[in-house]
Amino acid sequence: MANITTLREAVGSLIEDGHTIAMEGFTHLIPFAAGHEVVRQGKRDLTVIRMTPDLIYDQLIGMGCVRKMVFSWGGNPGVGSLHRFRDAVEQGWPHRLEIEERSHADMANAYAAGASNLPFAVLRGYVGSDLPRYNENIRTIECPFTGEQLTATPALRPDVAVVHAQQADRAGNVLMWGIVGVQKEAVLAAKAAIVTVEEIVDELDAAPNAVILPHWVVTAVCKVPHGATPAYAQGYYGRDNAFYRAWDTIARDRDMFQDWMRHHIVEAADFADFRNRLRLSTGGEKVHA
């Protein structure tokens, strides 16, 4: 049932103001192109879920799209802080950001519970940690056999999951490989799923037991080459570590951030245009998608 369409159409028709969305991809395959499209379409009042908010949510937060964020590690990997996230939490700019903070183990289990149509997940988590004091959604549950106290955490059930993958075929079956994170769980936990892919091929040359999302669990498939830039897509391109470092400067200052976002993303026609603008602004040449 996957609809092979444009990213503009997929984001426009599936993501609504006020929705809960999960854009996943653990360092690898982060759906940046889709994040930009959400910014361009000016979505508002979103609850955004992501284990590692990374630059993709720093951009959404700074542009005022986000009401609440559910996350477990909010840094710029290998660089330092996410300044727009910090500014929202520390100074309430551009507005107050509600946060629900968990651990990686919790969120990974909570996505798996969502994919499994369970209302909660059970884990050995948080013993001795202060996190449960600040998150009433972290509770305890007793084992009915041993009496042990374990952690219960509510399943994650986003309205829309957004992930990026290497390939889809013409029916919309999706193949990803390498670090696959919680993408399958996020897609299966969600009511609808948008998948951007590097390329659409006639036939997926999948290994036995490969990570496949069949077309009938994907709502929309959109071809967006380099759609995970500045993250990486194994077999296609590496991580743009320089961009991650440059972001530290861009995002540190509110005005610089807004100018940069306006020029590179808001005023861009699409992700290919963003890549051209970025290449030009960093002294490179125009590229053709």
């Binding site: 653990f26 360092t27 690898h28 284990m51 590692t52 996350f71 477990s72 590690w73 909010g74 840094g75 990997p77 290998g78 802080s81 996410l82 996230f85 910090r86 939490v89 520390e90 903070e101 968990r102 651990s103 990686h104 183990a105 990974a108 289990n109 996505y111 798996a112 884990l123 050995r124 988590g125 948080y126 013993v127 001795g128 940690s129 202060d130 996190l131 600040y134 042990e148 390498g178 670090i179 696959v180 994170g181 919680v182 399958k184 769980e185 990486y232 194994q234 391109y237 590496g238 991580r239 743009d240 570590n241 320089a242 991650y244």
Partner: protein
């Protein structure tokens, strides 16, 4: 013996040495990753490195900048999903050593990576928990590495993100925590290990050129000092070469990927 090495090099070498060969090690990013990979390049070729991104038995030739670099996946025995890595491997009790960094640490090696100041009204919002609370709880034992300073080594944490020895003694056992908790804290000045009884961190080694007084001055509580503080053996030529090669390969790879 090379006499020219930095405090960071000494810290990394000392942290690497703390990792025994043949163990399975769940590696945090940053200093722990450098130390674990140095260990693999020197005395611990058979250490199995696991990253929370799902890479199992990974053998990176360069240090990953992020926890999920392609280098980790390409050189791994296999890569599993993130739910699986936390469920079957960490919580499942398959990890011998967890290797963590921290922003703040207290005398019982509890750590804070969440917030400086008040949670609702923070002075500095740090990245948060990541995998640390469950690594700290479930790994067979925990190694922690961070730089020694009064800002980091505090009497009272602003926030307990991940447990060390709680309030000491047999508190971990009483809390039914699966792992034995922090076995050592390796800083740029020396090595601290928990007292066998009280579990209070105790300075047992000072690195060459560092003094007990420096360590005490860089600690926000009255630091317990072992009866006899040994000097950490300086990095060997082999260790330094391996570390510098690793860093040089890493820098070259990152330059190359940026030029690409």
């Amino acid at each position: 013996m090379p006499d020219d090495f930095t405090a960071t090099e000494m810290m990394t070498v000392a942290a690497a040495r703390a990792l025994r060969d043949g163990v399975s090690c769940f590696v945090g990013i940053g200093l722990p990753s450098a130390a674990a990979n140095l260990a693999r390049a020197t005395h611990a070729p058979n250490v199995a490195l696991i990253y929370e991104s799902g890479a199992i038995g990974t053998k990176p030739d360069v240090l990953p900048l992020s926890i999920g670099d392609g280098e980790l996946s390409e050189t791994a025995d296999t890569v599993v999903s993130v739910p699986e890595i936390f469920r079957y491997w960490l919580q499942g009790g398959r990890i011998d050593v967890g290797f963590l960094g921290a922003a703040q640490i207290d005398k019982f090696a509890n750590i804070n990576t969440t917030i400086i100041g008040d949670y609702a009204n923070p002075k500095v919002r740090l990245p948060g928990a990541g995998g640390a609370p469950e690594i700290a709880a479930s790994a067979g034992e925990v190694l922690i590495t961070l730089k020694h300073s009064k800002r980091a080594f505090v009497e009272k944490l602003d926030f307990v993100t991940s447990v060390g020895h709680l309030d000491g003694g047999d508190a971990r056992a009483r809390a039914m925590l699966p792992g034995r908790g922090p076995a050592a804290v390796i800083t740029d000045l020396g090595i601290l290990t928990p007292d066998p009884e009280t579990k209070e961190l105790t300075l047992t080694h000072r690195h060459p050129g560092a003094t007990v007084e420096q360590a005490q001055d860089a600690t926000g509580w009255a630091l317990k000092v072992a009866h006899s503080v040994a000097e950490t053996p300086a990095p060997t030529a082999e260790e330094l070469t391996a570390l510098r090669d690793l860093n040089a390969r890493t820098a070259a790879a990152h330059r190359k990927s940026e030029a690409a």
